[in-house]
Symmetry: C2
Subunit: 230 residues, 2 copies
């Protein structure tokens, strides 16, 4: 069975867990606190980030961007109509553009700062970057999430799914990042009814169930987090 080195509230790890779930792949999950910078972990991915996929005990695939391309190349064709990175060039461009948007832009502006300040810092020692949360950074992220939700609403008003007629990596990346924000109560669902309806559809998928069971020690989720009729 493939092994996935992950963190339960790392948005990029959640993206790959959703992708593997949609592909019907099981994984042996191993939790890693990236900020501890364990030498064995850094030897697998010198960039020091989760997730890392390990196949056949020896093939190491680090970072969400690289794993998603690898999984499409090794499993994509067998999925047929349910392929998450569709075959036509123009559709691939749009799926990759939006996947990149959520894995990089949304992470930098919203899910990265919120998970760092509100979750990871609770477990980091001072010399690992721990300490009190930076309220300026949190406020900026909570402000930024609104225009991203508007953008999701704008996309879903024009298409069945974020990147086109079928569910794709773009939906899974967006939902993975938003799920962390939603746990923290910072997903401003009042901003866009379209975004809310799209997320309700994502959340009800079987691949989402394991994520909704995750908890941060000592921190309850928001009222909407595991409520499928929020």
């Amino acid at each position: 069975m493939p092994r996935l080195i992950h963190a339960p509230f790392c948005p990029h790890s959640r993206f790959i867990r959703l992708v593997m779930g949609e592909m019907g792949m099981e994984a042996d999950l191993a939790e890693e606190r990236a900020w501890e910078r364990r030498p064995e972990f850094l030897s697998l991915n010198p960039a020091g980030t989760t997730p890392i996929l390990i196949e056949e005990s020896t093939l190491v695939v680090p970072t969400a961007d690289v794993i998603s391309e690898y999984l499409d190349e090794t499993r994509g064709l067998a999925l047929g109509e349910r392929r998450l990175l569709p075959d036509p060039p123009a559709e691939r461009i749009e799926v990759r553009r939006l996947t990149n948007w959520f894995n990089h832009k949304f992470f930098d502006e919203v899910s990265g700062p919120l998970t760092l300040e509100k979750i990871n810092k609770r477990f980091m020692r001072n010399d690992e970057g721990g300490g009190p949360p930076d309220t300026v950074s949190i406020r900026a992220a909570r402000n930024n999430v609104r225009y991203h939700l508007q953008y999701i609403g704008w996309l879903t008003a024009r298409r069945n799914w974020l990147a086109g007629p079928n569910m794709s990596y773009a939906d899974l990346a967006a939902a993975a990042h938003l799920s962390c924000v939603d746990y923290l109560g910072d997903a401003a669902w009042d901003e866009s009814e379209g975004a809310r309806a799209w997320y309700a559809k994502m959340k009800s998928r079987p691949s989402f169930r394991p994520l909704l069971a995750d908890r941060v020690a000592g921190m309850a989720p928001s009222a909407t987090y595991d409520n499928l009729d929020f």
Copy 2:
């Protein structure tokens, strides 16, 4: 002819210019100052970043990550042995891991802050984020470049090129980002003889020539910038 919307000192634009040069593709270059956020530009890439490739007047391919995958899918096979994203799965993983390293990690830690603070801010109005350069940010980036050069040196001591036996996207991404840093005189070549020798090899390629002819208005390049025997 394909059109490339770029900025001469945007490291991601330089990466795609090098890729197109190595693939023997000509492009009609159109310069864009991303920070002006022109509506016509944002309609091509809502993320507001360069580069953007436009093919056949209608197919719009935004961001370096998406363009490099698209170019491999549409031109890669025809390159045979000179393909920049090689065919074997393990080699693709390593090329993508390192390309991602330079386009994201190195950009965040080194080339992004240096080009913003030292180049782009000279041309930005205050309401576009202009103003005096942030010396703390510059100092951090100049410190960070050293461990990246050590890493390049470590890789080249074990392989012909950064990701393996052949030149790949990884070399072109690394050289593109470093070329901006070198223009500014912030590439600490004394840190690694291996990194210096590898960069001299990259710089002497015909694909590099147009980049070495670029100048920032009112700012001379460092002594090493266009010297092939630095």
